[in-house]
């Protein structure tokens, strides 16, 4: 049997990174993700790998940028307000097509906010805070096991598509421990010999740059990036469906906060009310097509988020106004308990029934 360990989300991420060959980490402390750097500071030094306590998050992401250009498997981690500091270099990495894995263990904002758990960076991650036309792949785990598995996947996707990948984790999940099966890295190694910078020996020199004064070349470059994003959308979109097949009411939620909505589904199913959960596992690419198909047969959608409703617009875009969308949101603090959610949903059902009655 494979090794099982009780790990915090943060440690699961760091362990997975090591297990799939991450050889460089650069970071700066910020709660609630500091354990990642603390753990790796020991493990990477023991293995003679690249580790720097960077002087700032800006330095950390730029060290990652440089390291990625050598073909190394690079990771940095931070939290919300400090991930904001990294956005410029994420834009560079996207344009330079450099594989960087960025872990954002979210705290509550805006501004400095506080260390409470939140999902406030959905927009920051999926739309991006950097300049220009670019996309970052965004993975959203809902358990510590998924933190582990998706970290390995993040490295794979980053290398495969030469693109930054963000693992978007709530502070709750980063700090929570669960049993984790320490799977071996299931993904193949990606050949990077055609582009990495390791000295122009027996080949022409290479340059990695985003600056492009020639407007035709710049235009082509960006269009090529978007062709790549199209491929990513076709190949990598991922989601989970829970009791969706015959659902009349569909809950949309992501990350750890989607967990409690499963208990809600179970509760309503027992009462004969068909509630299902649709959980995107990739926030970019967002599983719009599948959501559109499922929502054809539902009466309404309830979007549940620990922010002020950031994913809701993607749900709305996917369903194009074909179903009413309600939301239950809370920007910060303890996860909404199943009991609270049930009460709120019963309230929504009542209002929908009234609406329905009035229409007759």
């Amino acid at each position: 049997m494979k090794e099982k360990a009780l790990l915090k989300g943060n440690i699961a991420i760091a362990t997975a990174a090591l297990n799939c060959g991450c050889n460089c980490y650069f970071g700066y402390p910020i709660t609630p993700q500091t354990e990642i750097g603390e753990f790796l500071s020991v493990e990477m030094q023991n293995r003679n790998l690249g580790f720097v306590c960077a002087e700032s998050e800006i330095a950390a992401i730029n060290m990652a940028l440089g390291a990625a250009s050598t073909g190394a498997k690079v990771m940095t981690s931070s939290s919300s307000c400090a991930v904001a500091l990294m956005q410029e270099s994420l834009s560079y990495a996207a344009s330079d097509e450099l594989p960087i894995v960025l872990i954002n263990v979210m705290r509550a904002g805006p501004g400095q906010g506080y260390i409470y758990s939140s999902q406030g960076d959905y927009n920051q991650a999926t739309i991006g805070g950097g300049n220009g036309d670019y996309k970052t792949i965004v993975l959203s785990p809902s358990s510590v096991q998924e933190c582990y598995d998706m970290t390995q996947k993040a490295f794979y996707l980053a290398q495969k598509y030469r693109n930054p990948v963000i693992l978007l984790v709530e502070g709750l999940l980063g700090q929570m421990a669960e049993p984790v099966i320490l799977n071996e890295n299931p993904y193949p190694e990606i050949d990077n010999s055609s582009w990495k910078l390791d000295g122009a020996k027996n080949r022409p020199s290479r340059k990695i740059h985003s600056l492009e004064p020639n407007q035709i070349k710049l235009c082509n470059h960006i269009q090529d990036l978007f062709k790549k994003y199209k491929t990513i959308e076709q190949n990598e979109t991922d989601w989970e469906e829970y009791c969706c097949d015959d659902a009349d009411i569909l809950i949309t939620a992501f990350g750890a906060y989607a967990r409690n909505t499963k208990a809600v589904c179970d509760y309503f199913r027992k009462k004969g009310i068909k509630v299902g959960l649709f959980r995107p596992k990739t926030l970019y690419p967002f599983p719009s097509k599948r959501l559109a198909t499922i929502s054809k047969n539902v009466h309404f959608i309830i979007d549940i988020e620990m922010n002020c409703g950031q994913m809701e617009k993607d749900v709305a875009l996917a369903t194009l106004g074909s179903v009413p969308i309600w939301n239950i949101t809370k920007p910060v603090g303890d996860i909404l308990s199943p009991e609270t959610l049930i009460k709120k949903i019963e309230d929504i059902i009542e209002q929908e029934e009234k609406k329905y009655a009035n229409n007759i």
Binding site: L6, A177, E178, D334, I335
Partner: protein, 180 residues
């Protein structure tokens, strides 16, 4: 089966150690378990607490409004978490550091002078393990067979320390039996 535990006290009392040991024991039983600890500035002033959820099914209720069992190793944590205990739930309180006062009549109280008992054992740091032993007895959810393995997960190869802690655990375990 679905049970919730809160363990609380102050820094240095080994709250997170026994929390982690308890969670590991459940894991060794192949149960589903979530283990949440307080973190960062939440711990300012020295208060420490953690919450453990165990179930035979996938855990889809990450934060519970109520808990089945509370271990409170000092007065402040007893005050803070008493209201979170379910009706019919159990409070294990360290009467060495908390007043014996049953402010609720719908829960079961076990007051024990844990720090004093630990001192008698020769090490006040064993307070937490005695408390865990009491919990082990009354919750009925802890497999005694797995105790040693659970301690090993945290204390690794510190054999002597493991033995001492298990001695403390058993003292707690038998404490209730003796009807004290």
């Amino acid at each position: 089966m679905n049970k919730n535990f809160i363990i609380s006290g102050s820094g240095g009392q080994g709250i997170l150690s026994i929390g982690s040991i308890l969670a590991n024991i459940f894991m060794l039983e192949d149960l589903f378990v979530t283990y949440c600890t307080c973190y960062g500035a939440e711990m300012r002033g020295g208060a420490v607490n953690c919450e453990i959820n165990v179930s035979d099914k996938e855990i889809n209720s990450l934060k519970n409004e109520k808990t089945d069992f509370l271990i409170a190793l000092n007065q402040a944590s007893l005050n803070k978490f008493t209201s979170k205990v379910k009706e019919g739930g159990t409070i294990i309180a360290n009467s060495s550091l908390a007043k014996i006062e049953k402010i609720r009549n719908d829960v079961k109280y076990i007051f024990a002078p844990l720090s004093e008992e630990a001192a008698k054992l020769g090490n006040i740091k064993m307070t937490n393990s005695i408390a865990l032993g009491i919990l082990g007895k009354i919750s009925g959810n802890i497999n005694i067979e797995k105790i040693k393995e659970g301690y090993k997960k945290i204390l690794q190869n510190k054999t002597e320390l493991i033995e001492k802690n298990i001695e403390a655990f058993m003292l707690g375990f038998n404490y209730v039996q003796e009807g004290k």
